[in-house]
């Protein structure tokens, strides 16, 4: 086995501490690390954006052609729906925040003829469903 170079009394001189490749790797790691930090910091904003994308979008109930579905809602069904609602908007643009109040106003607004209403979800003001509500409350009552 050949003797090691250090055994021959030769000390390897100290040149530049880092080679260009090591410097480039270090700079790249710092850059990518910074990008990851930005991504982590921006995560709440991105999650919120994703939530907005995946949530149902408000539907325009004002136009005749935009009506989603014609339903006959009976009293019990309407109570079920309205229990989950905190926000109701009629086609006339009237909004009601209170559950019971909204329910009553909706009854008033739609008891005589079919009306369109937008029923909003409890948590946010997202439109949950857009219906042509045809109430037959008088029959049930």
């Amino acid at each position: 086995m050949s003797p090691k170079i250090e055994d021959m009394g030769v000390s390897v001189p100290s040149g530049p501490v880092l080679s260009l490749r090591q410097k480039a790797a270090l700079a790249s790691a710092l850059y990518l690390g910074l990008c990851m930090i930005l991504l982590v910091v921006a995560q709440p904003n991105l999650v919120a954006m994703w939530g907005e994308i995946t949530s149902p979008q408000p539907t325009d109930c004002s136009g005749e052609g935009e009506k989603q579905e014609l339903m006959t809602i009976y009293r019990d069904d309407f109570q079920k729906i309205s229990k989950n609602c905190t926000y109701v908007e009629t086609v006339n643009g009237e909004t009601f925040l209170d559950d019971g109040h909204a329910y009553l106003r909706l009854l008033e607004a739609t008891s005589e003829e079919a009306a369109t209403a937008c029923i909003m979800e409890r948590e946010k003001s997202w439109l949950y469903v857009c219906l042509d509500v045809k109430l037959r409350l008088s029959d049930e009552l």
């Binding site: 390897v12 040149g15 910091v41 904003n45």
Partner: protein
């Protein structure tokens, strides 16, 4: 007769002077050319150019390079000094990204990097040059990545955050590829 000889000698001296001036100009031009080549390659000495010449044939460790360049072997008294000189030159070449060695392992021969080969290829070709390690496009794409990343943080509840996120991902992908390519050129 005497005056004729003198005239001939003077005229010969004139020719010699003209030839000498011509030679001086040529020598100066070649000197500048050599200096330019050394500067283009980022070399500090003739030893470094000899090392590059030896590595063109294939990877070699420092001891082999000492044997090739200085012709001295381990048992020769001056080997240690030659080894030191060569190691110093190797470190400098590594520092300028022209040679590389394996990161791990006992036997770590030096080899020319693709970046060095590119520089050698374009050496002395007027108007042509090897691509820079970090070009203006790279700088632009790194800046776009960081700016769009910053935009994602700052644009809270803005419809533009989606665009910033898309741009960030796109630019990050490109910049990662550019970084990989740069590191490959130095390996």
């Amino acid at each position: 007769m005497k005056s004729g000889s003198l005239t001939r000698i003077v005229s010969e001296l004139g020719v010699l002077r003209e030839e000498s001036d011509d030679l001086r100009e040529k020598a100066t031009a070649r000197l500048w050319e050599s200096v330019k080549i050394l500067v283009e390659m980022g070399l500090a000495s003739e030893l470094e150019s000899e090392i590059l010449r030896a590595l063109i044939d294939g990877p070699r460790n420092t001891t082999e390079l000492v044997e090739i360049i200085y012709g001295s072997t381990r048992n020769v008294p001056g080997f240690g000094a030659d080894y030191m000189k060569l190691s110093r030159a190797m470190r400098r070449l590594e520092g300028s990204g022209l040679v590389a060695t394996r990161i791990l392992g006992r036997d770590r021969p030096y080899r020319l990097t693709p970046y060095a080969l590119e520089k050698l290829y374009f050496l002395g070709r007027p108007g042509e040059a090897a691509q820079r390690l970090v070009g203006s496009f790279d700088i632009l794409i790194y800046l776009v990545t960081l700016s769009s990343g910053l935009g994602m943080v700052l644009l809270q509840e803005s419809p533009w955050i989606g665009a910033a996120f898309g741009l960030f991902l796109y630019a990050l992908g490109i910049s990662t590829c550019r970084i990989y390519r740069m590191l490959r050129r130095l390996s």
